[in-house]
Symmetry: C2
Subunit: 146 residues, 2 copies
DNA sequence: TCTTGTTGGTTACAAAAGCAACCAGTACTA
DNA sequence: TAGTACTGGTTGCTTTTGTAACCAACAAGA
């Protein structure tokens, strides 16, 4: 019996919090649109930032390129997204939201905003600021030198 | 282009932070002991709380029972853990750390404590308190009524 | 004590993630 | 303009996870 407390260990605690807060939202994009987490992430990037290539999404989201590749394929099958070749660099596939994808995005953004404010509801303004700020710094932690 | 910002969306942000903060530590338990995340979680519960059954670990960690079952099997194969049948209820398997598991635990606790303080290093005392408190509340969110 | 329901735990099968190899296309540079 | 090295992206194979079905063992009531 050791006094190390898992409940103060950030990687563990963050993981628990991430899982708990994701469940309800994931049920919605899964039930309504048959999407996976990787798929809504791609969708959200395109909806939020406009046309992008897979590797740009990768840089922002830090998802591995195979995940993105498969998510894009699934979104194409759903007619949510289309891909056209870049005129300059022919390796690049520029991804664009199609009307159906746009409307799923609009729908899910509303859900996400509601869900987010539910999650934040218990916190004071000051707590929210600190929480978001700390999380953003932690999310960038691995980019720091060892 | 919508103004919804993924970077303020808690489920996303928490996930990013969780992944980033887990990488270094996971490399260590993987490299040194060939363990998976599920395995170190079980190990840490036993090391921290003493003998437990699989379902007690499940209640605390919220891991699904199949994950625990497989993690326990892997830990038994490594001679980190042993299981004996409860004298009372013969369904229950009481899990105990073996010397090798104990020493891996001791080693990893040190690593985890160091890693945790590295992660916290950038935060003020006030920030730490708020962060941990908010995360613990978020981790319990799904237990709340809808 | 039968019978119905529950709980602890495992297993088998399907879905998803991780990893490495690969195929273009580009970029450098000799 | 050939050679080498890199980048964007896909595919195939392996490892992990999720899900549901299942097998004991227990519990509670008729």
């Amino acid at each position: 019996m050791h006094d190390f407390d898992l409940r103060n260990f950030l990687p563990y605690l963050l993981n628990q919090a991430a899982e708990e807060t994701s469940i309800r939202f994931s049920r919605i994009y899964k039930d309504r649109y048959g999407m996976l987490r990787t798929e809504w992430r791609v969708l959200f990037h395109l909806g939020r930032y406009g046309d992008m290539t897979a590797s740009e999404i990768g840089r922002l989201s830090k998802m591995h390129k195979t995940k993105i590749s498969r998510a894009v394929k699934a979104l194409e099958n759903k007619n949510f997204v289309t891909r056209r070749e870049s005129s300059g660099d022919r390796r690049l596939g520029i991804l664009t939201l199609l009307p159906q994808g746009r409307s799923a995005f609009d729908d899910l953004v509303e859900v996400a905003e509601k869900h987010n404010s539910d999650l934040m509801a218990g916190f004071s303004t000051g707590e929210r600021t600190v929480l978001i700020d700390c999380l953003q710094r932690l999310a960038a932690f691995e980019d720091l030198p060892d």
